[in-house]
Assembly symmetry: C2
Homo-oligomer: 334 residues x 2
């Protein structure tokens, strides 16, 4: 979507010629962040395990990007990638609450040990860099009154949430011990281009659109009354850029959401409406999903709005239309 | 010390003939817990990386104990040790805030991955067992008003504290997901027999006694005004036994301390007084210690007192005298 910050000049001033590393730069959020960084004139580095098909990236981005091929746990590649960076957006990692409960040790190794290795590399080669970390709404206790502020209790239901929380603690402790600058973003439910439709736990909007565009049923667990806070990835990207460049944000923890709660049933109906195809089907909750269901969620986003002047801009209907347009434009693999 | 619960009969009823595993059973707390379990008639298992010199264990204990030799991360040994257990006291692990900040990945592997492996072994072979986990006062935010209740904010200053906190989350999540029963004990500053004097971060009382008994200076950082909550290991052992057998305690988190704050300077003076030798010397704070200094701490122990009727019994002066008596009795290696 063509949503740009009104602070385009300060953004360009902050990023032009500066070195920005995006770990997991070919994932959902990274694929949206990297072109924007390139557009702002940053020297962009991407660290990822494999290179994406050329077609998945906007033309004109590749030449501006320097690739570091490796797993986040590959210390030698990591040290190279981090060396001399001004900004580090640590988007590499495993996601998904259900998956993490099935494979907690794999989640631990990638998400916790991987971050510790990154922080150690920063301590050695990029002591002045700011690291922006995508935490999650899943750090919060379930079933809190909405909207949920950053001060709410943090007793996660999933290993994923528990590991996001320990990651937040790592960043705070490395700040105290070694002066590393970090910003924690507790992201709600992001959606948008480059999100794989098979990632249900993470990308329910894209999955629903995927089904609707094929004229299939959208499956909603139970009555679908649970509220979620859906935020378009363009809004996420602008928020990441805003906090990384803001001295006021160093050391802070922010909710990053739209600040609006939408029920799953309403979301499904909206998608069928915008798509003009598909239908909504309600089925009983599967056990694996019910056990990690967190109840209603909507983020209180007053803190980030006050601190850096960021606010969400993409309306849900427009965001859904945007994804549908792109689904039409580029054939999906699913 | 000869401190026994007044509930000796219920304890014997709960433990006689029951299978109790103590991981890290030759460490400080384990060496105190194991003989008590044996005395209560439990079938005691100890899992540890190496066997202690016979002399370190009270006579008559070894024959009642079954040994499982292995690191906590050795899955095959772990599965054997856990199989069919009624109680699991997970005392294996690395301790020390400063050490954890120097070697966070080693701390992660032993304390987090080790616990995940144990929980997985329980899920497979001991679904009805109760696991008692020694968390730490170091999970709390620094410089809280004392006494600190279990509901206080948890933003640890050390990797050690952060990993204790994620361990607490693991136990809660495995309870929700798999029905595993656990009790979390946030232990303050335990002291007593079998604690090695070289472990300053963990065993300041034993270290101070060690110096005083040799007529040396006890080193106190700064003015030594910071309060700590020292609890004798006999009181710790009785609390572990009490919560493991209590259905009311399953899923709970308790502070485990004396409930009394003592300044480090007062502690040092008391030790010199009881020992009749040594002196107190104040030196500036070393950076590595200052950065993990948590300010005054004293635990609010109302929750565990109300839930299981446990209360601390050993007075600090008596506990110090007890350690001194044992230091005299058995020659130290240091």
């Amino acid at each position: 979507m063509s949503v740009k910050s009104s602070h385009e000049a300060p953004l360009a001033a902050a990023y032009r010629g500066r070195v920005a590393l995006v770990t997991g730069g070919f994932g959902f959020m990274g694929s949206n962040l990297v072109p924007r960084l390139a557009q702002l004139g940053a020297e962009v580095r991407v660290m990822a395990r494999s290179w994406p098909p050329q077609a998945e990236f906007d033309e004109g981005v590749h030449p501006a990007v320097r690739f570091f091929k490796g797993d986040i746990r590959d210390e030698a590649v990591l040290q190279d990638a981090v060396e001399g960076c001004d900004y580090i957006f640590h988007l590499a990692g495993k996601s998904g609450a259900s998956t993490s409960n099935e494979s907690p040790i794999e989640d631990l190794d990638v998400n916790c040990r991987g971050l510790l290795l990154l922080l150690d590399a920063m301590r050695l080669g990029a002591t002045e860099a700011v690291i922006v970390f995508p935490s999650s709404r899943l750090v919060y206790a379930p079933k809190l009154p909405v909207p949920v502020p950053e001060t709410a209790p943090t007793t996660p239901l999933s290993i994923y949430g528990a590991h996001k929380l320990v990651a937040e603690n790592y960043l705070r402790i490395f700040g105290l011990q070694h002066g590393l600058k970090s910003v924690v973003m507790r992201i709600t439910n992001p959606y948008g281009p480059y999100q794989r439709p098979e990632q249900r736990s993470y990308g329910v909007i894209n999955q629903f659109i995927h089904e609707a565009m094929r004229g299939r049923s959208i499956t909603v667990f139970g009555r679908g009354e649970q509220l979620r806070d859906y935020i378009h990835v363009d809004d996420v990207v602008e928020a990441l850029l805003a906090v990384a460049m803001s001295p006021a944000a160093a050391g802070a923890t922010y909710n990053l959401g739209s600040g609006t709660g939408t029920s799953l049933a309403d979301l499904a109906a909206l998608i069928v409406d915008v798509a003009g195809s598909g239908r909504v089907e309600h089925v009983p909750w599967p056990q694996s999903e019910a056990s990690v269901e967190t109840g209603d969620f909507c983020a209180d986003i007053a803190r980030i709005e006050a601190a850096v002047g960021w606010a969400p801009r993409v309306k849900l209907r427009d965001g859904i239309q945007d994804v549908i347009t792109r689904v039409h434009r580029a054939p999906q693999r699913g």
